[in-house]
């Protein structure tokens, strides 16, 4: 079961080889998360309508290995944008994927860009 986690590695904007189109912005609920599929990956996309910012991370919560992060509530803690896993409320930074409770859990993050009203997520594969 470890391999399910291994396919998620953070991607920085410079490394992107494929910008994958995942639909128009209106498909993504405001101030919430939603889940998209890319090959075998599930990626959570977060639409911060208040700030106009977008983030993307793996959908898998590494704590109990559940595909649920896109269902979590988003917001910020000390000005760091975050998502709270709906299962046990583990908080993850959407900037670097680190656990904001200081635990040894980390999630992969992906770059997002918006062009002509479409949402694109950056991958290396």
């Amino acid at each position: 079961m470890e391999n399910i986690l291994e396919q998620y590695k953070s991607v920085t904007e410079n490394e992107v080889s494929t910008w994958f189109e995942v639909g128009v912005t209106a498909n993504f609920p405001e101030n919430s998360g939603a889940c998209i599929k890319y090959k075998t990956k599930q990626v959570a996309v977060y639409n911060f309508t208040r700030t106009g910012k977008w983030y993307a991370t793996q959908n898998l919560c590494p704590h109990k290995m559940e595909m649920v992060l896109s269902l979590g509530m988003i917001g910020d803690k000390d000005n760091i944008p975050k998502v709270a896993c709906p299962m046990h409320k583990k908080n993850f930074s959407l900037e670097d994927g680190s656990n904001l409770g200081g635990e040894d859990l980390k999630i992969a993050t992906y770059p997002v860009k918006i062009e002509n009203g479409n949402v694109y997520i950056g991958f290396t594969d």
Partner: protein, 837 residues
Amino acid sequence: MLNIIVVGNGMVGYKFCEKFVEKSEAKDFKITVFGEEPRPAYDRVHLSEFFENQDAKALEMAPAAWYDDKGINLVVGERVADINRTSKTITTVKDRVFSYDYLVLATGSSPFVPPIKGVEKEGVFVYRTIEDLEGMLAYAAKLKTEKPDARAAVLGGGLLGLEAGKAVMDMGLEPHIVEFASKLMPRQLDSRSSQVLQLKLESIGLNIHLSKATNQILGDKAITGMEFGEDDILDVDMLVVSAGIRPRDELGKNCGLEVGVRGGIVVNNKMQTSDENIYAIGEIALYSQMIYGLVAPGYDMASVAVDQIVGKTESLMPDDIDMSTKLKLIGVDVASFGEPFMPAAKGHSVIFENKTQHLYKRINVSLDGKSLLGGILVGDASDYNMLHQVYLNGMAIPEDPSQLILPASEGGSSFGSVLDLPDIAQVCSCESVSKGDICCSITEGESNNLGDVVTKTKATTGCGGCKPMVVDLVNETLKSLGKEVKETICEHFDFSRQELYDLIKINKVPDYQEALNLFGEGHGCETCKPLVASIFATVTMETANKQPAIQDTNDRFLANIQRNGTYSVVPRVPGGEITPDQLMTIGAVAKKYDLYTKITGGQRIDLFGAQVHELPLIWKELIDAGFESGHAYGKSLRTVKSCVGSTWCRYGMHESVTFAIDIEKRYRGLRSPHKFKGGVSGCIRECAEARGKDFGLIAVEGGWNLYVCGNGGATPKHAVLLAEQLDDETVVKYLDRFLMYYIRTAGPLVRTAPWLDKLDGGLNYLKQVVIEDSLGIADDLEQEMKGLINKYECEWKQAIENPEMMKRFKHFVNSDDTDDNLKFVPMREQKMPKAWS
């Protein structure tokens, strides 16, 4: 660079590493730790929790990566076999040799297994490591398939033995405790407190056998029983031996270190053994001719050894070690401090005993009546922290010492302010944090709240027993500085729930975003969003469909998210009354969507394992058959449970089912600070368990008795009588007022029972507000409730009839595929989620 080798990676060995790497001198040392168990150090004190979740990781003191981060070389699964003091090297069982400048022995202890005939039989276990527990679990599971009423005994009625008793009880075996002495916990308790504890444990299902010496273990290959004497046999299918510990001092013994007659490596107050380069800490260290089997002295020893190695030679182990202890044993508070047993020549004892409530308190006071020497608490140890401090610091006690332990209603008084403690008073003994450390952290501006204090001082991060005292200290210190101590919602709203409720209502705020713009800052979080959602639900009765983004995940999808990210569905079954046709509809839907079904505690049926895209399809069918949302996912009314009442029952006084249905329909969909439940019983036999609910009605001659503010769960509480012999109409009037008053004033996620506890004036005040209308708001409360009731609509019906609202019931935004990670495994002719690990 000097090499330190730590032998043993238990709690104390770990604590040594943790304390060491905090020192600035640590950079001049390289630490290598050897542990024989296959995993890094874990919290053995809370071992029995492993049965609840079987999550070994949750017990870890720190994950393996922590050691890496700190530059510590952790070697697990490799035991150190030999020490060569001349060459200053150690050899492991894999014949690897490592050299050291300092060696720290923290090998702990092993369970003592008395030489009883037959003790080697299958089914006999010891209780020490996670592997022991896994062995017990596997054996218990096998036993239960062969014999549903299998029994397990624990040999030893001490602290660990009773923990083991809870463990076997949790495994579903009939638990028996066998103790050689004539009382339980002979080291900590006197005989009267031990009897009180015994009564309490027996009341929850433990069978206790005292004064029993086991002659032999019976059975051919596997254990079938224990023989104490002729014709004195206890049939058991499993045995856990918990008859004490023996220090694991072989390593020290073999290399010629000085050891005690009954084991343990002799150390001085620097924790040095007879070889100045070798230290011993924890349960193998024999200090002042004693082995200390508690974690706090072990941690102190680790601290002293660290200081000595880095050159702080003034840090020494004190001569007297405080063996006071407080623990929660199978849900029962047990504490002893100072001298629990005291000869009459040394002082007087004051004893409070109430066997009906399983309470026992004893304090020992000096002959002159001026100081506290020790004591024992069973059943309620809430006074422990303060009594312990009074004892440790020799503080003055009241002229009538009974006030220290009597219940407040009997003239007992609680202590003065926590700020009266001397600065040196040790508040957190696990982390050695004094009152001065905590207060200074605030007065010197380093900390501004509880969170800061915990991060800076580490207080409460050990066993957590000192938490109430630390909270009081922080609040009192802040108050003394003139800072307001306010229960604000979170970093985004600097208001209490009640304040924000008023602001939203008075200013007619339309939605969460506007509330944040007007009264908050930042972008919200999982604390304030659902709280504000609940306020909107109360102010305007809006359903969770209107602002899905601020709902908890359960409310957002109008279903309860479960283990593997699937959902469960609960249709409302008012009062638990259901027709055969409705039952068949539920059955047909469950079958069609392959759902696991179970009857809930609230007299309805829960359907598990639905995927998000199936939820609307399932609800369409249920709604077409006349069902509506059960709001099992919401902080709202759950069910009103009923007994069958005078309609069928020959004892029934009134129609409890009819009334329960009326009330459940009245308050369905009503959102509140926390979930709430009701019950209606048709007579005082109370089959609906109405007094375990937030509101309960019991039929009596002449009407209904109305009880409020009870609950089951982690802190069960019986509801208390608000009014007697009411007619239907008055019940509803009082309920409207009571519920609305609770909804308006309770803090977030506070159920009715703790709300009443905190209400100034308590039950009498609540009676005045609800019955006598002392605040003059009764009309308001009733009107407000009426408004909410009139606006009720089923939010599932609303959702499936609106294409825009339906959009969210889909796993992927960019594909119609479903989540392919879901795996189920069969269980008793149904299915359950497959565990990931």
